[in-house]
């Protein structure tokens, strides 16, 4: 359980990092990015491609933050 809490803390920090740096990350508009330890470890055009690339790198996508950056011309309101 302690490991799980530590993992959650690290991923929570990644989430905050994305929020705080979102303006900078907009340069990846239309792309999908994978973040680990506050670093971008992969960029792809599609979710399918990034999943394949992460698998090739032996990265477990279940414990990564994956963010799809919308195009600047599009706003999403739920």
């Amino acid at each position: 359980m302690e490991n799980e809490t530590q993992t959650l803390e690290i991923l929570d920090e990644d989430s905050k990092w994305v929020t705080e740096n979102y303006e900078e990350l907009r340069k990846y508009e239309g792309k999908v990015i994978a973040i680990k330890n506050k670093q971008i470890i992969d960029v792809s055009d599609t979710l399918e491609n990034i999943m394949k690339k992460l698998e090739d790198k032996k990265e477990n996508s279940a414990f990564l933050l994956i963010e799809a950056i919308p195009p600047k011309s599009v706003s999403f309101i739920l």
Partner: protein, 144 residues
């Protein structure tokens, strides 16, 4: 809560999700306008849920797209408390947003839609939501 923080959805809450089908990290938008708690299609793929066999459930619409709201059954969500401990919560109403059309185009179109913590979860656990977009701070508070 449908505000943006510099164009990103906000507020997000992170947790570890565990069910008989999946285990992993989830970042979800707390949406007090949503009656339901759901995993996004992107998170379902990221957690390697068998989405092709999950095309069943109540139809629902979100952001102009139509989904099946598939249910995952017994699940737990583990949160990190402000004192660094973990808080595991049993939640048996977790849905998954499965597009009614599962082609590549549709999956790309819905990839921006986040997982959502809705009022069903907040009510079950008697959570109140604190959010301060200007300071990018948000958390859930247990109301005893």
């Amino acid at each position: 809560m449908r505000k943006f923080v510099k164009d990103r959805y906000f507020p997000f809450i992170s947790f570890m999700f565990r069910s008989s089908h999946a285990f992993g990290f989830v970042e979800a938008l707390v949406d007090t306008g949503s009656p339901f708690t759901v995993l996004s299609t992107t998170d379902a793929i990221r957690l390697r849920l068998p989405i092709k066999s999950m095309r069943k459930g109540e139809p629902c619409q979100l952001a102009g797209f139509t989904f099946f709201k598939a249910f995952l059954g017994n699940s737990s969500m583990t949160f990190r408390t402000d004192d660094g401990k973990s808080l595991a919560i049993q939640f048996n109403n977790m849905g998954v947003l499965i597009p009614t059309k599962l082609d590549k185009s549709q999956l790309e179109d819905v990839k921006h839609i986040p997982s959502i913590i809705g009022n069903d979860f907040l009510e079950q656990e008697k959570f109140a939501l604190y959010v301060n977009p200007s300071k990018k701070v948000s958390y859930l508070e247990k109301i005893e």
